[in-house]
Chain length 438, copies 2
């Protein structure tokens, strides 16, 4: 029999120390933004009853998720997003005051084909404001997404805001019906991926003349605020368009008020999440590399929470993938050098009888907040330094009998090889200058 | 048809805002201790191949976990601990320098009966030192557990340290054989739960005389360091006992060296994890309420990592449940009052036209680091204050036209009802005194 291989399941990569240090740094920043905006952190169960998952997306979702039965025969599934759990939690707590702001940063699973930057097990941050229909709630959902990326040191992106009602209204104004409107929206959703010609021919198959198709693409793709006026003139008598344009204008105004206007733009071709978004929808893209996909996205979904019982509750929210964000930050070299899992210091006793001293020094440096390991393998100097190199620890403290008699220690820099004879206090003050302690 | 109920699956409670705020505070402290001790944070996959899970615990584990097949027929399972994944990760990375210190704080699942303080989906912290057989590695594993609880403000516990080899050696010295030793250890493992009489009768069923049984209970239960001498005299010629006693003596010495001696004691009746622990084992108990169960526990397991391929790697580690720790901290009222999911401030414009001002004030207070929400529902004062009460937000800022003309705002304390007319700078300096900003 060949040797057994034990690996993570396909597409469910372990998060190793290097990636985890970055993820931990990111999630700390994200939690801080959540807190500033008053979003209360929650963690809905990762395993949901299948009926909860299918209530949002229909039974066909079974093919796209991890579905199983427990030993009591219950139909269960691994969650595929954080919105379902948060919406269900709010439905389960009728006494929570509304509007309520909830946030989560956690992992989920989808049974699709793994690819570069896409895993079957992945992490997202997610904010939801439930119980408020005013566009101010959408504003807050978008603004926190912008501030999350800014807090990570990244500002080279824009949020493209569309509106489901405006897009629908324009299409209806041009002759779309309840029968073909979803199909038409689905075509528009593909704008970034397929050619203009394919979209037009798709429109023709749905009974739109070439001219009407051109007008849709012209109107929706023209984007930008200038288009709003033209749309109003042409479709302003369609109620959906009128209300949607009012939402968009207000959003632009509020971003102006708080000085974040340069991060947002209107793009009516954004029509994501056709199954449940009902109002404004948005996606944020890197300004230089939009093919990398959306950095975050979201929208208003006024019909979801009601599915989970009790009240009809309007809601809006934003979510973004941690891996996507990490890739962008790495590419732009925006991850600070202190974001590393490596210990700061390795303490080595040069003779075996000094192990107690090594432990004491270690203890004192840890009390100062430094990340410190000591020579638990009781190696001699050469082997210990070899290990320090492999571990990529930047500083080593060597404890020798002679030096100890003068209350001094050797501080060795592992990059330059420089060695200094110093007291512990001198070492501490040097380490304080080298390393940030949080 | 009755109304559908959407709830979390049995025993898989959502973590709501209040519990999550405490969990987040705890995990931040725990991550900091991990870092001080040089443990690198990882997150192994939560879904493992079933063969990986059963390699540790045998195929019977299937009955105790969530087991399922994916659409390609792969046998999978939800992980039941963090040790398996960490051990497999190390086996998968033959070039990682050893010893390596890895830590994780995350969730897992077991299919057992939910009870108070025990859920089917639960969170643990876990540290492992892999690649070092020296007892110094065990020392570090125990010490970080002690420091985790101390950093949470809780010192009223002791770590009881036993040793698998010593317990086995004593039993063998009294006539136990390879055939009955596991059964005898299992009886000892029950010491805290069943009567002395039941243990003795169990021993008799395994061919131990009443006298030998009494001697086991006498020796093992006597605990404390004084017992070590007596054990050495009686069983010191058994190799396992001799080596194990040396480990225990060294551990006590090192805890003395770093000034943590008062947190540890010897208790040879600690024989947990019979399937895979091979050396020192330990459990920490509340000094006043040990029936609450272990606060953390761990031990040396030198045979596990080799199961996952490649090298035989000695290892040692400690794990503790977040819920258990949280219950103890709550009971002792050790959770600081600032650990709350509630926003600090609610900003209310008294007339609708002042919404832009509310947004601006909100923005400025958020920039100072405060957790701030504003009147996104455009409520009038009375309804807004009613909401502030329900939300339990401690401070409200009221913006009125008249006050604004003097660049002043009303700061209202929601507990006392006190209202002050202040400039924004005055408000900020008051809020700084009231709230801790991290």
């Amino acid at each position: 029999m060949g040797k057994e291989e034990y690996k993570p399941p396909k597409g469910m990569d372990d998060i190793g120390p290097e990636e985890m240090a970055i993820q931990d740094w990111m999630t700390t920043k994200i939690r801080k933004e959540f807190r500033r905006y008053g979003f209360q952190l929650v963690e809905p169960t990762m395993v949901e009853e299948f009926k909860t998952l299918s209530a949002k997306s229909g039974p066909a979702i079974k093919d796209e998720i991890y579905y199983f039965r427990d030993k009591a025969g219950r139909e269960l599934g691994l969650r595929f997003d954080l919105t379902v759990g948060i919406a269900r939690m709010v439905a389960n707590h009728p006494r929570w005051p509304l509007p309520i702001r909830l946030g989560a940063i956690s992992s989920m699973w989808r049974y699709d084909q793994p690819a570069y930057g896409r895993r079957r097990w992945f992490f997202q941050w997610n904010v939801e404001i439930l119980g408020e229909k005013d566009v101010l709630a959408d504003f807050e959902s978008i603004a926190v997404g912008i501030d999350i990326f800014r807090s990570l040191g990244y500002e080279d992106f824009e949020v493209r805001i569309g509106h489901r009602q405006v897009a629908e209204g324009i299409l209806k104004g041009l002759g779309a019906t309840d029968d073909n409107i979803i199909e038409l929206l689905r075509l528009i959703d593909k704008l970034q991926k397929v050619s203009r010609e394919e979209i037009l021919s798709g429109f023709e198959q749905n009974g739109f003349s070439r001219q009407a198709g051109e007008e849709v693409l012209g109107t929706l793709m023209r984007g930008k605020e200038e288009a709003l006026l033209a749309i109003e003139e042409r479709f302003g008598d369609v109620n959906k368009v009128k209300n949607g344009l009012k939402d968009l204008r207000e959003l632009l105004h509020y971003f102006e008020v708080v000085g974040m206007k340069n991060f947002v733009t209107i793009d009516l071709s954004i029509v994501r999440g056709l199954g449940y978004y009902t109002g404004p929808v948005w996606e944020a893209y890197d300004l230089k590399d939009e093919r990398a996909g959306a950095l975050f996205g979201g929208g208003r979904y006024d019909s979801l929470v009601g599915l989970y019982g009790g009240r009809d509750i309007p809601a809006t929210g934003t979510a973004g993938g941690l891996l996507r964000a990490m890739m962008v930050l790495k590419q732009r070299q925006l991850i600070p050098s202190e974001v590393t899992p490596k210990p700061h210091v390795f303490v080595v006793n040069l003779t075996e009888d000094l192990i107690d001293d090594a432990m004491n020094i270690t203890r004192q440096l840890r009390n100062e907040g430094f990340s410190v390991v000591f020579n638990i393998s009781r190696w001699k100097a050469r082997k210990a330094l070899d290990y320090a190199n492999k571990l990529q620890v930047p500083k080593v403290i060597l404890i020798g009998k002679k030096e100890l008699e003068e209350n001094k220690y050797i501080l060795r820099d592992m990059v330059s090889g420089e060695q200094l004879l110093l007291t512990l206090n001198e070492i501490i003050s040097r380490l304080r200058k080298t390393f940030q302690i949080s």
